[in-house]
Subunit: 653 residues, 2 copies
């Protein structure tokens, strides 16, 4: 059995039963998937068309026309198929299933006899396939299609899509690899690595594992493959003009060094974390310690140096990229939703490699903040870039901040994020639990029912909680008569006080705590109940002093949720607000917020600007502040109540 | 007589005798002009070539070759000629004069029989002249050449260059204007307006005045001329590809509205302030009140809403442009040196229109801060962009800050700023004094000797001062026996305490103070001496609370000089430093600084970062600061002691 299957539970075995999360899983089924289906079919008024389904129909020969949209439009459709499959795994839906089947039929028709499948190259540049891995996302699209096929097979048991994609993967395997006559290429946008691990796990075919390992290990070797292929095609470029070398650096695509030698996260953030996720998969499946160390180094670099407090990454929109250690500007931030999802994927894989709560802490941080921020509460508007502070007039009038949209958009010409959120939300059940031998780990606190099998015996864990608004979690063990196993509960990094009761009896946590998990080893009997109580109070958080953008500032966090100020609650000019380091912050259920969410309030100060003369811009300093009540709301909810300013890092004295 | 001549003194009549400024005037003659001569002749190793002289030689038919460099390279040569002429006006220099004459000969040879002169169009696109005013800087180059010719004539009395340029201006006048058959065009980059006013003043030819007024008044009328000419040439673009509309807006070139209706400074900052300077010239010469009001509105908008504390303008490098009110980011600032010079030119003209100290305050603010910052203390390195905070690693690794150079450069491919600084420094004597009937105004405190003529009688004012390091100014009236006139001394906006002595006797200032000037009306006798003492102490300055970037921050200013922190004095990570609002700041002569300049020191605090764990990026807030002595140096001197961090706006509690 592969290592991954050993340490995970199938998505089908986890039922979400949670007020907070069922809102999202319902939204996926009722709003997000239908909305995105319309988007992929170019039926959203006043939104950039996707062309994804149309391109596929043309490739399949059922429609006439020309390819339109970006070179990687297939991937949007693939991510939607993956999301739809996860949804079907937990809840049947005839309409959805028929839409999915319709697309799979078209993919089958479009696929060429040798297994190749990519609508751009089939329709627009036949004969030029595999000539520009650097720029044209061919392996990236293949990866998303493969992931979708695996998800579809696991959800429905139907093999059609999986077989189509196995033929495609076999074709790819015939083209790339270390053997003489094969191309020594690797993807310009990493992603297929992850997909091939999944395909290997579901089919058991080692050639998919080996192909994934080849892509990972070949990366960064000299001569650089992207130069070799560019030379071969006469330096014709997809994005730039002929003869003009694109401005992208080797770091942009993470091929500046062999992966084991990479110490800092660089370049396009999504590509980076997809690569690192693949590396972690490889380390898990092969036990390659050197690769595992490289993953740890890169994960530490990201989370210890280059991650926003919201779990987002990517400090610049230019290249959608990492910049350098401690450079986390709030005003020109990028923090793409896909990158946050990628960091969650990477952290999840690190957790499989090494059971340590810090990985789940980052998963949770990204999930409850920068990822959920990417989608409107009503499910049909999306952020690509998730800012840390918003001044709508600056977004409009200062070109350096034009990428920062003050409201979620209907769709994007490059619409990678919306279906990526959909597939994450619809597979959220897969991130809650994992296993290691006789230990069942609970990583996330989400009301749910896990059906696990331990030594051939069924165990049910029923988790109940009002997380993230409340820190109490109840877990009941069911479905057994008597069974010995270790139940490990994550002690979140944000929590400094917690209590544990087993069947009503207070238990000490201290000696049970190892690497961020409270281990409860005992012989369980049916109905045994744990109550884990994490004290959840609003806290002021500071960033490392080297983060220049946040010097003299604090952010409010309660549990895993980062808070922000919005203009609708606090008036214009949020930068004029400051708080004291000993501010008393009160958390309360706010009926005015969707889902009766928890808001935070306290007494702050606001710089008084009423005493300034017209046209006076500078003058000798006089302190002049007015007390104000500040109200902070969960960051992920921002921008759901009209356009206005937003601020995460508040001046603090 | 024109209004301008009525209210100014010829440059020749002002001798600079000043420790601070003679350093610069000597530098101009001994270092800057020779260095820039070499740059224009492509003789600076490892610097981008200018091609300016080479293009001229090709146009003149004395060298073979192709035009190289940007379309407006002529203007760099023109500004150098203007700077050289100002220098010759106050100090003869045979080598320099022969270099100037050599260039003027070439210009004469290059000029076409009908008077046209522009090396780009003569060499590279003959037959396409005046087809793309929008983008190709043809009138801009003409303007700089005309300004140079006027300066040369005034300096040397030689008419050759002036005559060449009169022929060119006559040609332009034959092409553009309101008359039937003429083009109703105006410059894409404003500048010729200023030049034509100068040409009118020196020649007395009203057609130059009328052409300037035409360019100003035609601007922004519909149909937009730039659309008309683009249509005529089939939308061929100089910077973009054929058929592709450039991304520039109408605001970028200030033709979105007729000039009288423009209320806010918009678009490319240099173009804007050159236009407004021309408008102020027009208001002065014609008495057009509506135009004067437009100038006041625009000047107020800039200085009351869009100006950095250093007197710089341009909040974004994208389009080198204004953004919007109170948007003055420190990290992505542009603040081009040319724009600061342009604001000085505009303010100088406002001062001619309306004697109010606020205009001279802004002149002085730009001069001692963002303008002098543009040139290294040794005279041969230059800033294009003048940042408000520098983190060298960010300049290198965060593309949003790549335009912010942490050190002055040898030259630029687009080298507008270096010769612009040269012409400003070499004509500084022209900004110190002006007159209004029987009143002699002193705007700037610079050691100098003015030879004025009042009602046909000669009056000499001998000004002595150690400004900007010391606030004491002595002015002695000489060259007369007895004469009644009004001597008006500017009371700077930064000064809140001053004293005045006439011939040793203390005089009250209050009743003499009108619109920022202390008026001393009396019958002067030879040797009468005024001692004006401005108390000069370091002050903390705050920005308007709407300037979000500076909320909770203060800048240090002493007299007209803005200060900054540098890494060389204060260590790495300047953002970790904060000061108290009641900090005691001591000013002292610092022998370690060039020119024994005044530095400022005081006790601040620094966030302690020694107690953070490896890989810890966020944690609950704990105040933990260490007292530190901070040292601030004049902003204009920054970056003269190696590469390092710099910060103007310091966190302040």
């Amino acid at each position: 059995m592969n290592k991954f299957t050993e340490c995970t539970f199938p998505l089908k075995n986890v039922r979400i039963k949670d007020e907070f999360w069922n809102r999202y899983t319902n939204l996926v089924r009722e709003v997000i998937l239908p909305y995105q289906w319309n988007a992929l079919n170019d039926r959203i008024p006043d939104a950039p068309p996707s062309y994804a389904v149309r391109n596929l129909r043309i490739a399949a020969g059922v429609e006439e026309g020309e390819y339109q949209g970006l070179v990687f439009q297939d991937s949007d459709m693939a991510k939607w198929l993956e999301a739809a499959s996860y949804s079907l795994a937990v809840q049947p839906d005839e309409t959805l299933e028929s839409q999915v089947d319709e697309i799979i039929d078209l993919i089958g028709k479009a696929q060429l006899p040798d297994g190749y499948m990519n609508t751009y190259y089939i329709v627009k540049e036949p004969g030029r396939r595999w000539t520009n891995l650097w720029e044209c996302h061919e392996l990236y699209c293949a990866g998303h299609l493969i992931e979708a096929a695996v998800a579809h097979y696991e959800a429905t048991g139907k093999r059609k899509f999986l077989d189509i994609m196995c033929r495609f993967a076999d074709h790819i395997d015939s083209v790339f690899g270390p053997e003489p006559g094969k191309k020594r290429g690797y993807p310009g946008h990493e992603e297929i690595e992850l997909a091939l691990f999944k395909l290997y796990r579901v089919t058991g075919e080692e050639r998919y594992l080996n192909l994934a390992l080849f892509f990972i290990n070949e990366r960064g070797k000299t001569p650089y493959y992207f130069d070799v292929e560019a030379e071969e095609r006469g330096w014709v470029h997809h994005w730039a003009h002929k003869g003009q070398r694109p401005s992208q650096t080797k770091e942009y695509n993470q091929y500046h060094l062999p992966v084991r030698e990479q110490k800092k996260a660089v370049g396009h953030a999504v590509r980076a974390v997809y690569l690192y996720s693949g590396m972690a998969d490889a380390a898990l499946e092969t036990g390659d310690e050197e690769l595992g160390d490289a993953c740890r180094t890169l994960w530490n670099n990201i989370t210890g140096r280059q991650m926003y407090i919201t779990g987002g990454i990517g400090s610049t929109h230019i290249g959608e990229a990492f910049t350098f250690d401690y450079d986390l500007p709030n005003d020109t931030v990028y923090q793409e939703t896909c990158a946050s999802i990628g960091l969650l994927l990477f952290s999840r894989r690190m957790l499989q490699l090494e059971k340590h709560g810090k990985y789940a802490d980052v998963m949770e941080r990204a999930l409850y903040n920068s990822i959920l921020s990417g989608i409107a509460l009503d499910g049909n508007r999306f952020f690509y870039c998730n800012p840390m502070e918003v001044w709508p007039e600056a977004s409009e009038k200062n070109p350096c901040r034009r990428h920062i949209k003050p409201e979620r958009q209907k769709w994007y010409g490059c619409a990678c994020c919306p279906p990526n959120i959909a597939r994450l939300l619809s597979s959220i059940g897969g991130y809650i639990y994992s296993r290691d031998g006789n230990t069942i780990y609970t990583h996330l606190y989400i009301g749910s029912e896990l059906e696990a099998e331990l030594d051939g015996e069924k165990v049910i864990l029923a988790q109940k909680t009002d997380y993230p608004w409340d820190g109490e979690v109840t877990i009941q063990v069911m479905g057994i008569t008597e069974k010995e196993f270790d139940l490990a509960l994550r002690m979140p990094g944000w929590c400094d006080q917690a209590s544990l009761k087993i069947n009503g009896e207070e238990c000490s946590i201290g000696y049970r705590l190892r690497d961020g998990y409270i281990h409860i080893e005992r012989t369980w009997t049916n109905g045994d109940t744990i109550v884990f109580q994490m004290e959840m109070k609003p806290q002021l958080i500071q960033a490392h002093p080297q983060v220049r953008a946040n010097a003299g500032r604090a952010a409010i966090q309660r549990g895993p949720v980062v808070y922000c100020l919005e203009e609708v609650d606090n008036g214009k000019n949020l930068s004029a607000i400051s708080i004291s380091h000993d501010i008393r912050l009160d958390a309360y259920r706010d009926a005015a917020l969707p889902g009766n969410a928890v808001a935070v309030r306290g007494q702050g100060m606001r710089i008084n600007d009423s005493l300034w003369d017209e046209n006076e811009l500078y003058r000798p300093l006089q302190l002049n502040v007015t007390p104000v009540t500040i109200k902070a709301v969960p960051y992920f909810m921002w921008g759901n109540r009209g356009i206005g300013e937003m601020l995460v890092w508040i001046r603090c004295q």
